[in-house]
């Protein structure tokens, strides 16, 4: 009898929303670095109110994973200790720079642009750390499960890891003009996204040929549809809607769950064996349900506020 591991799927759904939000920030970070004067208004209008929510989703996923997979904590802490610490330093740097940048009044050498660039750099570096860890979780790249250790050298020697990184960066570059509706970059969106998808798909195959399946077609189609819809003018308004993009992106990432389930680390680690069980599952469901209802209500309020503000801006432009 097939038993569905709902706990895994709930955790992966949280992960999908977090990653989507984080990708929107990465795209913003790239745009800040390449065209500060030109794109800053559109980027900051989005990022300034949302970066705190992204951070909260990061915490949400970390705690939900602690709850869902208690027995994985010791192996993960043993395998990635310095990567996790590096992530933490970058995370504090990200938050500090953006929150200082929000309110800085130029005095001396430090100004808003430098702080936002600091934010963009730390966000991009966090992305690299996260992608290296994810490539390890998907394919076991650089990881020795018997000694519970990670070797950066052996990770670097595997083409799959590099392609995974490069593919993700190119996709982000391709989708950034869509998310921030930068018309003058519309020509790059389809070729970049398509190239990124090809590289990423190849990287999945190299990383974990055992778990690679035809299911990959779902995220491929969902991702390529974004620039395609953007290029069709009557449909552009749909994909540039940020709530739509985040929803679509979350489903897109969620569809990639087959890469780590039922087996992670290149097919070596059965996820079901590490999932919480017994009376703890009831608590997980109860709190998740109550929490997600509260979160849903808050998001509705937030969406309502965003809509009201955008209407006011149209009625009373600055």
């Amino acid at each position: 009898m097939l038993i569905i591991n709902y706990i895994f799927y709930i955790d992966f759904a949280i992960f999908s929303v977090f990653v989507t939000l984080f990708i929107t920030e990465i795209m913003g970070g790239v745009m800040i670095l390449i065209g500060w004067d030109r794109y800053r208004k559109g980027i900051l209008d989005y990022i300034v109110p949302v970066w705190e929510v992204t951070g909260t989703f990061a915490a949400f996923w970390v705690v939900a994973s602690d709850f869902a997979f208690p027995k994985i904590l010791i192996p993960v802490a043993d395998i990635f200790p310095w990567m996790i610490m590096l992530f933490l330093i970058l995370f504090v740097a990200r938050n500090s720079t953006i929150v200082f940048a929000e309110f800085i009044i130029k005095k001396g050498w430090l100004d808003e642009r430098k702080l936002y660039s600091g934010y963009a750099f730390s966000t991009l570096l966090i992305a690299i750390v996260v992608l290296i860890i994810l490539s390890g979780i998907i394919g076991g790249t650089g990881i020795n499960l018997s000694t519970l250790s990670f070797s950066a050298g052996s990770w670097a020697l595997n083409a799959g890891g590099w392609l995974f990184l490069i593919g993700a960066v190119i996709i982000a570059l391709g989708l950034a003009p869509v998310f921030y509706n930068v018309i003058d970059l519309k020509k790059i969106t389809l070729p970049f996204t398509a190239l990124g998808i090809v590289i990423s798909t190849l990287s999945f195959y190299i990383l974990s040929p055992g778990t690679f399946s035809a299911m990959v077609i779902i995220p491929v189609i969902m991702t390529i549809l974004i620039p395609v819809l953007y290029l069709i003018q009557p449909l552009r308004m749909i994909v540039v809607n940020k709530l739509f993009f985040i929803g679509w992106g979350s489903i897109d990432i969620f569809s990639m769950n087959f890469m780590v389930y039922p087996d992670a680390f290149g097919g070596k680690l059965p996820v079901d064996a590490f999932t919480t069980s017994g009376p703890m599952t009831g608590m997980f469901y109860a709190i998740s349900l109550a929490g997600i209802i509260i979160l849903g209500i808050l998001v509705i309020f937030y969406a309502f506020a965003v809509k009201r503000k955008s209407i006011e801006t149209i009625e009373h432009p600055v």
Partner: protein, 454 residues
């Protein structure tokens, strides 16, 4: 590595609670101002709220990141402990905290970045209150975890002595029980009252300094208004801290007698003990320090009815915490009394309707004692946490059993310490800079020129 793990985590959380206390006190203060603004709208007060909101956003932003550092460090430095946490109901407190955190975050985002979007008269006050509620709820939930570490329940290890071993399995008996242990309530009320008190005193220290330095009458009026409210909160805070602290000692006496014996430096069990201020144990006897005859026994009897007090000799020496916690405990109590005396004098100023801000020595004392209150707050946490040693889960799992022994933690660990040494002062520098640089009416929308509109 165990010592390093301990030190790194102590340093991180010691730094983190500075931001936590600041955030909690600041949002409460803002909520109080929103309440007064609702009763009598005043442009100067509205402007002050905006300035404080900006400081709060910085405190929240850096504090959030720091909170995640603490949470992930727990997994990374003490994976054995977090595995047990994740297999028992106390993980529910961490999980619930995320939703409190969402409540705080989204309410704050609406409060700060969407001002004026909702036309309802009570919007600002309501959003400030929800943000404050989310912030306090986060503190309550994380204190539940600490209370459970002190008085664990809801599970056992399937070993002969009930203590952790590398092959032990966790058997859950009640998933919800860890959210309400025997020490949960007393610890929550004490932590909340002292946190609000310490944070408020720290903020008061800054405003007292600004009042002393300022030559601008408008500024001085604003600072006087803030200082009056801060003084009111601080007076209530010290009274609550005293009552809840006494209750906390009663809980210790009942449920953590060894910790109580170490804090009061009782070498042997017995009756009629004096209150000992400082001193050390030598050859089984207390040497040095000051003794107040019968006071400890009297307080214990009044608080709990217990006459026979515990002593260290009843427990194996390997389970004793470091006995210098007796000194940190005494410093905390004496410090609390000094703060109480100052606030009592301040209270008399209110009673006799005198403006204490016109009294320079009182203002200088407020500057010094605001910082001192925070030192006492940190000292209290050191007493509590070191007092639980060598246990991470009292009488069930030691810190060394929970620790990560990977030496690859060393370099990034030192980097985190160096980073905090830069981040905390920078954050306070920015608090002051942002507060001082935004005096006019503002909104917080990003401006076309850069930064926010001023």
């Amino acid at each position: 590595m165990v010592s390093f793990d301990r030190f790194l985590f102590a340093f991180t959380i010691g730094s983190h609670i500075i931001l936590v206390a600041m955030s909690i006190s600041l949002i409460l203060l803002i909520t109080v101002f929103e309440y007064f603004n609702l009763r009598k709208r005043d442009e100067a007060q509205t402007n002050l709220i905006r300035r404080l909101k900006r400081v709060f956003v910085i405190s929240f932003g850096v504090g959030t990141a720091s909170g995640i550092v603490v949470a992930v460090e727990l997994v990374n430095l003490f994976p054995g402990f977090m595995t047990v946490v994740s297999e028992t109901g106390i993980i529910g407190a961490f999980y619930l905290e995320i939703f409190a955190f969402f409540l705080e975050t989204i309410a704050l985002v609406l409060y700060v970045y969407f001002e004026g979007v909702f036309k309802w008269k009570y919007t600002n006050f309501t959003l400030a209150t929800i943000t404050a509620f989310g912030t306090l709820l986060s503190a309550v939930l994380i204190t539940m975890v600490n209370a459970w570490m002190n008085t664990p329940n809801g599970f056992y290890f399937d070993t002969a002595n009930g203590m952790y071993s590398s092959t032990a399995k966790v058997v859950v008996t009640n998933v919800w029980a860890p959210l309400a242990t025997v020490s949960t309530f007393s610890e929550i009320v004490h932590v909340l009252s002292t946190t609000v008190f310490a944070g408020t005193m720290l903020i008061g220290s800054y405003f007292a300094y600004r009042y002393v330095k300022s030559r601008n009458d408008n500024d001085r009026n604003i600072f006087r208004s803030v200082l009056r409210k801060i003084s009111g909160i601080s007076i209530i805070g010290i009274v609550l801290a005293g009552i809840t602290g006494s209750n906390e000692m009663a809980t210790l006496l009942k449920y953590q007698p060894l910790k109580y014996a170490a804090m009061d430096l009782n070498p042997t069990p017995g009756t009629g003990f004096p209150e000992r201020l400082f001193g050390i144990i030598s050859n089984g006897k207390v040497v040095g320090g000051i003794q107040i005859p019968g006071l400890q026994a009297l307080l214990a009897k009044l608080e709990t009815g217990i006459v026979q007090l515990p002593g260290l000799s009843s427990y194996p020496q390997s389970t004793w915490p470091p006995l210098w916690i007796h000194d940190t405990f005494d410093v905390m109590v004496i410090g609390g009394l000094i703060l109480g005396l100052y606030l009592f004098i301040l209270f008399l100023f209110f009673v006799f309707k005198k403006e204490y801000v016109k009294n320079r020595p009182m203002l200088y004392l407020q500057i010094i004692l605001g910082l001192f209150a925070f030192f006492i707050y940190e000292d209290g946490w050191v007493t509590d946490e070191v007092g639980r040693q060598p246990w991470i889960i009292y009488n069930m799992m030691t810190v060394s059993q929970a620790s990560n022994y990977s030496t690859s933690l060393l370099i990034p660990g030192y980097l985190i310490i160096a980073f905090y040494i830069i981040v905390i002062p920078s954050t306070f520098y920015f608090f002051a800079r942002i507060f001082n640089s935004t005096r006019g009416p503002e909104n917080l929308s990003p401006s076309p020129q850069g930064g926010v509109d001023h």
